[in-house]
């Protein structure tokens, strides 16, 4: 808990730094705060954790592992933001503070042990994001993204809240352990309210993770928001939402599998196909990444469908791999867009000649997203497929495999543009922060891909 308190105080401190115009101190202070959060989490690594504060939060291995992942990815995003917002706005401190607030919400979502906490966490996370999506006040697309995200988000929160209310009506408690006891003790005579509650929760959470058919906000919001905010949304927020989703369903609703698994099965397949096929026809790299994030949500639903002991690890590795690759992809996109003014695939033509390192990093990120061996993405996909096959959903995996093959077409498009389409262009100047972020992300991607033993068996 001290980690979350530290983080909240850090965000307020950053706001004050903004008040006193200490712009240079923003990034170092934020990073320092994140590092101390990490240290506090490290101390908390405890297999025998018990729920704290009347069962509100539980910092077990699951929660700590996902929290650390969220904090690390946020640190990478913050490193990328050096000089990103200064150009257009004087309110940089707000940006840092809002990201930190949003992160705090995300950390609550991954460690909730009470549905009220889940709701509060999701709200803290989302409200900050509504503002962040529209942080470019004079940019029309950014405003549109913020409004859409806000309306859709508020709507989905309604579903979520209603679902929680029904759950309470059925079981008489918000506490995960109590709900679980209720479900386990009456597996055949559960109140119909509970079924309604589960369905509404699925709707609400599917909105948050961007799974079809509740994905319609994703492309426009991802496309319209500033690239860095999109990065944060598609990595940290997605990680937290999935971790929360899995935690809720794995700890409470496993005995009722027969009821909700068919629903999620259909959603996963629809999500995969919609995400992949729409990504195929995109001309903009950024929009392609938005659709690809939908299809990745489809793969991640696999873990919830499997709802087994290996699911948590599978999700951890998968979102870790996906987030690292996304950070690289969006980071390179920022640089390319800054010099060419375009986020289309053509903007990447001939990049390999002038910026071999940048191209190599992006190529590895794309291979990881496509799930090619020796990258983290492959290990993630492998674990996902293993966990669903353990439940004998062979047809689902065959469909997933077809989608993985479709994915090659659009992930390789940018590789083709960079390496095989010669074009004279200027060299892109890459500053030290970007180099650090790309190097770290790529090294971890490869390390996870070649020798993942250090992360499997963690939870």
């Amino acid at each position: 808990m001290s980690a979350i308190i530290t983080l909240s105080l850090l965000a307020i401190l950053v706001l004050y730094l903004g008040l006193f115009k200490a712009r240079r101190a923003l990034l170092p202070v934020s990073l320092l705060g994140l590092v101390s959060t990490l240290v506090l989490y490290g101390i908390q690594w405890d297999g025998q954790a018990v729920p704290l504060y009347s069962g509100m939060v539980l910092f077990d291995h699951y929660a700590v592992a996902f929290s650390v992942l969220c904090v690390l990815i946020t640190a990478l995003v913050l490193l990328l933001s050096k000089n990103y917002f200064d150009a257009g706005s004087t309110h940089v401190a707000e940006y840092y503070a809002l990201i930190l607030f949003s992160l705090t919400g995300a950390l609550l979502v991954v460690s909730f042990h009470n549905l009220a906490m889940l709701f509060i966490g999701i709200e803290i996370m989302s409200v900050a994001l509504y503002i962040l999506a529209g942080i470019r006040k004079k940019d029309f697309a950014s405003n549109e993204a913020a409004l859409k995200y806000f309306l859709m988000g508020a709507f989905s929160t309604g579903f979520l809240l209603f679902g929680i209310a029904l759950l309470y009506g059925a079981s008489g408690s918000f506490d995960l352990a109590a709900i679980k006891d209720y479900v386990v003790s009456n597996p055949h005579t559960v109140s119909p309210l509970l079924y309604g509650g589960i369905l509404l929760l699925i709707v609400g959470l599917a909105f948050k993770v961007g799974a079809a058919p509740f994905h319609f906000w994703t492309p426009d919001v991802y496309d319209g928001a500033p690239i860095l905010i999109t990065t944060f949304m598609s990595t940290v927020v997605k990680t937290a939402a999935f971790a929360g989703f899995l935690r809720l369903f794995y700890s409470c609703f496993v005995p009722l599998q027969d009821f909700w698994i068919p629903v999620l099965l259909i959603m996963a397949v629809v999500t995969l196909f919609i995400g992949n096929i729409t990504a195929l026809i995109q001309q903009s790299f950024k929009r392609m990444l938005a659709y690809s994030s939908i299809s990745h949500a489809g793969y991640m639903l696999f873990a919830i469908i499997a709802a087994g002991p290996s699911s948590a690890e599978a999700v951890l590795v998968y979102v870790g791999a996906y987030s690292l690759a996304s950070v690289v992809a969006f980071g390179v996109l920022i640089l390319v867009k800054r010099t060419t003014g375009s986020d289309h695939f053509e903007a990447f033509n001939g990049l390999a000649k002038k910026n071999p390192y940048l191209s190599l990093a992006l190529a590895i990120a794309m291979l990881s997203l496509a799930g090619i061996p020796l990258t983290a993405g492959f290990i993630g996909k492998f674990m996902m497929f293993s966990s669903v096959l353990a439940d004998y959903h062979v047809l689902l995996v065959v469909l997933a495999v077809v989608n993985a093959a479709i994915g090659i077409f659009y992930y390789f498009r940018v590789i083709v543009a960079m390496y095989f389409k010669p074009l004279d262009r200027d060299q892109i100047v890459v500053n030290g922060y970007y180099k650090t972020v790309l190097t770290v992300a790529i090294l971890v991607t490869l390390l996870l891909g070649v020798y993942p033993a250090w992360i499997t068996g963690l939870i």
Partner: protein, 484 residues
């Protein structure tokens, strides 16, 4: 000296260093040196190998223990010839690329692919096998798409997606089998010991078969092959045809049939028929080709079809034929593509009509080419004869009509190959071919090695056959025991 892990690691290290070499000359020398060292490191394996059915030089490291995955590698009589083939051909392929100004990156990709190929041929753990299988694919995609011909982007994307889809199906089967293994690992031996029901084995058979059939390729999964071979740079074509398609054949022998013997009993005949259809079909199409590279690409489908038929006949003669013919085909096809590259580079075209009369100005090349062509069509006392004879004998034991149609490859092969030789080398010379320069020293070196191998294996194939005999016999008996 017979540390298998080092043999696999060396090309990777070489590749990493080469990726930073931007000078053409030093890149060449370093790449050649690395490939020669790995060839040298192969010799102790050959010397210390005991030709029985056991697995030797085994090494095992924990890789992802939480998931039951080990990095388990080893060599037996079936993998050793292919390891030899890989490490023997890579220096020749690197040498043959010296005519072009490739920088370090090109050779790095070749060496990286070599590591993937070696892992495929030595893996005893299904996960390691799959990883090697995919690692071999990435570099060849980049080699073909970076340095290939005009349509390289479209053609290679098709190739990549096609093979990737096939291998993912195999991955499903591998995970499924792993979940059935009581000890929860991915070991080849654990997979062998599984006794699954016939229905399961049938779909497992298809999942593996598609991956291997696309790689080889077997008719009707060959549609990517002619385009990819034609558009690839010559070194890429050599890698694809000389070594990579053997991954498919090896997979069938090592993984597909022993793991799913009941599936094989149900569909083996169908697979054999597809192979034989491929032989006839590709031979006829090869006959119509004007582009020499495309002609050899189709001839490769025909040859591999016969190899496949020999494997699916599943008897000792057929398998032994397949083992030795994989080596022979690798040697011959590298020779053929190299000669055609020499010719095409000097004339600036691959069309047969623009050639002719080269033998007059380049007698050495003409003689060497003749020997290689003879090897490819299977003339007695050349390497091709031994393999094709054994293959046909194996198929004959399976069914006489299959052998009759499969045997057409000998006749049809002779027809289109000799026709090509005649049009390229003989006849009247034209304005361009009358100034044709004979081969230079590097080319001479590569071609001499190939010619020596063609004739050497043709006259005395026994040592090679001896390596695989015991392992093949045991494998055949093991599967036949289940199926009878």
């Amino acid at each position: 000296m017979d540390n298998l892990f080092i043999l696999l690691l060396l090309p990777v290290l070489g590749a990493i260093v080469l990726a930073f070499v931007n000078q053409v000359k030093s890149a060449r020398q370093f790449a050649l040196a690395v490939s020669l060292v790995s060839l040298g490191l192969t010799i102790p394996f050959l010397l210390n190998f005991v030709p029985d059915a056991s697995i030797q030089f085994e090494q095992q490291f924990a890789w992802i223990p939480a998931l039951g995955i080990h990095f388990h590698i080893g060599i037996d009589g079936i993998s050793l010839p292919l390891v030899l083939l890989t490490n023997g051909l890579i220096p020749l392929i690197i040498l043959s690329a010296f005519s072009y100004d490739y920088k370090g990156g090109f050779y790095a990709l070749i060496l990286f692919m070599q590591a993937g190929l070696l892992l495929v041929f030595t893996a005893l753990d299904a996960f390691a096998f799959y990883v090697g299988w995919e690692i071999a694919l990435i570099p060849i995609y980049f080699i073909c798409a970076l340095w290939g011909g005009e349509n390289r982007i479209r053609v290679n994307l098709k190739f990549f997606v096609y093979t990737f889809l096939g291998s993912l199906l195999m991955l499903i089967a591998i995970i499924y089998l792993h979940l059935q293994v009581p000890s929860g690992d991915y070991e080849l031996t654990s997979f062998y010991q599984l006794t699954l029901d016939s229905g399961t084995q049938r779909w497992v058979f298809w999942a593996f078969f598609l991956a291997f059939a696309i790689k080889m390729p077997i008719f009707p999964f060959h549609t990517w092959q002619p385009d990819t071979y034609t558009e690839a740079p010559t070194a890429g074509t050599m890698l694809l045809a000389g070594i990579m398609l053997k991954m498919g054949v090896y997979g069938v022998i090592r993984w597909l049939i022993p793991i799913a013997p009941l599936g094989f009993a149900a569909y083996g005949q169908l697979a054999l028929i597809l192979c034989v259809i491929g032989v006839v079909y590709a031979s006829i199409i090869a006959f119509k080709q004007q582009d020499v590279k495309r002609l050899v690409a189709y001839s490769s489908i025909a040859h591999v079809g016969l190899i496949g038929a020999g494997v699916f006949a599943w008897n000792v003669q057929g398998l032994q034929g397949a083992m030795i013919q994989m080596i022979n085909h690798g040697i011959s096809v590298v020779g053929l593509f190299f000669v055609l590259d020499i010719v095409a580079r000097r004339l600036g075209t691959r069309e047969m009509q623009a050639m002719g009369g080269i033998a007059k100005t380049a007698p050495v090349l003409a003689i060497v080419f003749l020997v290689i062509v003879m090897g490819a069509v299977g003339l007695p006392l050349t390497n091709g004869f031994v393999g094709e004879f054994l293959l046909l004998m194996g198929v004959y034991h399976y069914g006489i009509w299959y052998a009759v149609f499969g045997g057409l490859t000998l006749i049809l092969g002779a027809v289109y190959m000799l026709r090509m030789y005649q049009k390229v080398m003989l006849g009247d010379s034209n304005a361009q071919t009358s100034n044709f320069l004979d081969i230079n020293r590097t080319e001479w070196l590569v071609l001499t090695v190939i010619v020596v191998l063609v004739i050497g294996i043709g006259i005395y194939p026994k040592p090679l056959l001896h390596i695989s005999e015991a392992a093949v016999t045991e494998l055949v008996e093991k599967v036949n025991l289940i199926n009878n």
